[in-house]
Amino acid sequence: MDPFDLPRELRDLERRLAARGRPEPSADLRPRVLAAVRRELAARPALTQWVWGGFWQYAAAAAAGLLLVLNLLMSMGNRSDFPVSRAANGADVQQAAAMICELVSFITPEEAAREALLLRAGSHLEMVPQPRPGVTGLRALRQIEEGPPWVTQ
């Protein structure tokens, strides 16, 4: 059966359907639609128009943003405190190394300096229980009061 071929009865019905009075749009639909089009065009200028029309504005805004980011980065760089290098040769480390040398006569100055650095590093660390995953870890956390194995991290 060819779906494009309708039987005679359906052809008659189709003819009547096509001949029936169809509602026409009201006269004010055209101006109404075009007014809506105009409003939408005003609200949404074409993308290409926006890109080219506002190219210099876009370039100026991008340059200003870039300058601001550079300025912030420089500011952060200047104000940043990098204590690592200072700590290695700091007066407190040297003083501690000297004290170690006085207390432990057989220690070499290099070893004393190393111990002093370790002591200084250790002074900033807090004792925490070794975290372990799963039930074992939970049990370890519950055993804090009972004296679990302490490690420094």
Binding site: G21, P25, R30
Partner: protein, 177 residues
């Protein structure tokens, strides 16, 4: 109407109002007629046609990639109609019966009114295919493009819808739906 379809696309993409006016002059009445069958209400049909043109403005940058503007227009109309039907269902308001042209009177007018009422009783998919083929004058290939079907399926759906319409016409008229 602009000289060539390319001119029309160019005008639409550039946002020239006269291109939209030309498009309305070419398809506005057919869009409205199809929308009336789909929605069963003059007011909703007019709003749906307006939705189509507002949607065209929003999508105008992409219109150059469209191969069949007519199919695109009626597919937009279909989406607008479905959206309005869902909204009407959600808000639970009934759409009013489409008013027939004032010049219609006599037995032919009565048959037309019965046909319109029978059409409104059909399921949405069947109403759509009749609206697109009979009221909008689209070929089955164009109907298929609008509904995203094969031409054979569109024709089969149309035939089935016509059979349903014939059955509905045989039933005693129950007045306005």
């Amino acid at each position: 109407m602009p000289a060539t379809p390319d001119d029309l696309f160019e005008g639409l993409a550039a946002g020239r109002e006269e291109a939209f006016a030309a498009l309305y002059d070419a398809y506005g009445a057919r869009l409205f007629a199809a929308a009336c069958v789909m929605l069963g209400s003059r007011e909703e049909a007019e709003d749906a046609v307006q939705d189509v043109f507002v949607g065209l403005v929003r999508a105008r940058e992409r219109l150059r990639h469209i191969e069949n503007l007519k199919a695109y227009l009626f597919a937009s109309l279909r989406y607008a109609a479905i959206h309005r039907m869902r909204r009407a269902k959600a808000l639970q308001f009934d759409t009013a019966e489409v008013a027939m042209p004032a010049a219609d009177a006599g037995p032919d007018a009565e048959i037309s009114r019965r046909l319109d009422r029978a059409l409104r009783r059909l399921p949405r998919e069947q109403r759509e295919v009749i609206a697109l083929h009979v009221d909008a004058g689209l070929t089955f290939a164009e109907v298929a493009a609008v509904l995203d079907l094969s031409a054979n399926t569109a024709a089969s759906r149309y035939r089935y819808a016509m059979e349903k319409l014939r059955e509905a016409m045989k039933e005693p008229d129950r007045g306005p739906v």
